[in-house]
């Protein structure tokens, strides 16, 4: 039995072709059949067939759709491999569910039709930033922890190390997700992913071990370039931002387009690369999720730019409509849309893909949607903290 259960010969077990609500008639289905192996009245939980276990899992997944209770879905997948497979069949990626479930969710695109609401808290004394998913309509709440970043100043640049665990920022650990590196002037940034973008070929490392798992190089795969500059008004106007998403093709935002969806953190042997200890999830577009660098070469990378604020004569300030999600003025606040540089400006260039803004001391909201992932959105927002280009 595929659940790894102890086998039982009693006929309490139902015919495995039976699925709730769609029973087919077969000659053994009816109770009129003389069954020599009649069960005793005792039955054990190991008798529960996979289809029924699946029904129970669906119940768990539906009732625990929100954090913190969603942890039960993750726990369910930790029981054994076949339960994990079952869970992966039932759980939908954020693009369709609008929910984070497994850690890999932070690397997968957000929902298409809405903005996934998160917030970032900064701890100035430890130079650490915490990204949490918002769990209520409040601008900040306890939230579900997603990612943490720590600022590391170097002689010629600054790095923000991004990790799944705030207490573990080492690049060698399995929690390391990627980093943001700024240039000396704080005008240009590169986002690096610990893993190759989905669909990219794995780069061979020096070690020749294969052992059935893909070899990956030490994690420094550039996936986005961000630049800041003054606008035509110089320091009196809002700065201009541009994000070239090297790992997302421009076609991703067109009708029928798909964005690369990372579906696994590979488990590699301890010698070739730090263990990245997470598992694959199923994407609903199993054939299409391998868009990535090849598509970028063909279609060009997606380019995002910040929406130009309007000058409010009466209030004497630059204004953007954050729909209530940003409440304090700050030069760091921005909204990113698809830049019309990719082609003709159309309705898709009005849709906000990422917005970021201050709501309190050291607290900022971050709302993002497809085709960005939480990781990419977080990295872009971190650059807004760091850049020296400011507006008076």
């Amino acid at each position: 039995m595929k659940l790894g259960l102890k086998s039982r010969s009693q006929r309490v077990i139902q015919d495995c072709s039976i699925v709730m609500g769609s029973r087919k008639r077969g000659e053994n289905d009816y109770c009129c059949v003389d069954d020599e192996n009649l069960s005793e009245n005792y039955c054990s939980w190991s008798d529960l067939p996979p289809e029924l276990l699946r029904e129970v899992l669906i119940k768990i997944e539906e009732s625990e759709s929100k954090w913190p209770l969603r942890k039960h879905v993750v726990a369910f997948a930790g029981v054994c491999k076949s339960w994990r497979e079952l869970t992966m069949e039932v759980v939908r990626i954020p693009e369709f569910s609008g929910e984070f479930t497994f850690p890999i969710s932070v690397k997968q695109p957000g929902p298409r039709e809405s903005l996934l609401q998160c917030f970032i808290k900064r701890n100035p004394s430890t130079q650490t930033y915490y990204l949490n998913q918002s769990l209520t309509r409040a601008l900040r709440d306890n939230g579900k922890f997603l990612l943490a970043a720590r600022k590391c100043r170097r002689p010629t640049c600054t790095d923000y190390i991004i990790s799944l665990c705030a207490d573990d920022m080492s690049k060698g650990s399995g929690n390391y997700i990627g980093k943001l590196r700024s240039n000396f002037l704080g005008t240009k940034f590169v986002v690096y992913d610990a893993l190759p973008p989905a669909g990219a070929k794995m780069v061979k490392s020096n070690s020749t071990r294969t052992g059935g798992t893909a070899q990956v190089s030490a994690g420094n795969h550039p996936v986005a370039h961000i630049s800041y500059e003054l606008n035509a008004l110089g320091a009196r106007g809002p700065r201009r931002m541009q994000c070239v998403m090297d790992a997302i093709p421009a076609s991703a935002i067109k009708p029928g387009g798909v964005a690369p969806t990372q579906i696994n953190f590979p488990i590699s042997s301890a010698e070739s690369f730090p263990v990245i200890p997470f598992f694959r999830t199923k994407s609903s577009h199993s054939d299409k999720t391998l868009s990535g660098p090849l598509d970028c070469q063909r279609d060009g990378s997606l380019v995002l730019g910040n929406k130009a604020p309007a000058w409010h004569e009466h209030l004497q300030c630059w204004c953007l409509n954050f729909h209530g999600r940003v409440t304090l003025a700050s030069v760091k606040n921005f909204q990113l849309v698809v830049s019309p540089e990719n082609g003709q400006a159309g309705p898709e260039h009005e849709k906000v893909i990422l917005q970021f803004g201050k709501v309190g001391k050291d607290v900022y909201t971050m709302d993002y949607s497809y085709p960005l992932s939480a990781f990419q959105a977080f990295a872009i927002c971190l650059s807004s903290f760091d850049t020296k280009i400011a507006c008076e």
């Binding site: 659940l3 790894g4 259960l5 102890k6 309490v12 139902q14 039976i18 709730m20 609500g21 029973r23 008639r25 289905d29 009816y30 109770c31 009129c32 059949v33 069954d35 009649l38 069960s39 009245n41 039955c43 054990s44 939980w45 190991s46 008798d47 529960l48 067939p49 029924l52 029904e55 129970v56 669906i58 119940k59 768990i60 009732s63 625990e64 913190p68 209770l69 969603r70 942890k71 039960h72 993750v74 726990a75 369910f76 997948a77 930790g78 029981v79 054994c80 491999k81 497994f102 850690p103 922890f145 799944l164 665990c165 399995g174 488990i267 301890a270 263990v275 200890p277 997470f278 598992f279």
Partner: protein, 152 residues
């Protein structure tokens, strides 16, 4: 005008106990409905995979749900009390509901099972379901890290 006298079926459990149930109530179980349509209901209908303990409960459930006068709120209250059974009995009812193809009962019992399982640790689940942990040591570390993130 009164309706024609309603047919009563005889349902026989695996331990040979017979129960009288109105046809309109019993056909909530699609298995029984199929048998009736096939004309297998002339004598007692033997339900070889359902013992009398479970059948009695199932009939109680069927009658509540067939009762057009009970409101949704009353059904919900009924469900809450109905599922207060030892966990192994919950299992028996899930298997019986599946065998009889009774969606409403299946729904309620799977809900009860899910609610119970949520309270267990991974080790308890493995013990209860007699499951061997087939993760390697490396994978087990990954599972722990994943749960650490989820429970943070």
């Amino acid at each position: 005008m009164s309706s024609p006298e309603e047919k009563t079926l005889i349902l026989k459990s695996s331990d040979n106990e017979e129960f009288l149930v109105k046809e309109s109530v019993a056909v909530q179980c699609i298995t029984i409905k199929n048998l009736v349509e096939d004309g297998c209901d002339l004598d007692a209908i033997p339900l070889l995979n359902v013992d009398s303990k479970n059948l009695a409960w199932i009939i109680e459930f069927m009658e509540k749900y067939a009762d057009s006068t009970s409101t949704d709120a009353e059904k919900k209250d009924f469900d809450t009390e109905f599922v207060k059974k030892p966990f192994n009995d919950v299992l028996g009812l899930i298997l019986a509901a599946n065998y009889l193809n009774f969606p409403a009962l299946m729904d309620v019992m799977c809900d009860a099972c899910a609610n119970e399982m949520k309270l267990w640790s991974v080790e308890q689940v493995r013990e209860k379901f007699h499951i061997q942990n087939d993760y390697t040591e490396e994978e087990e570390k990954a599972v722990r890290a994943e749960n650490f993130w989820a429970f943070e």
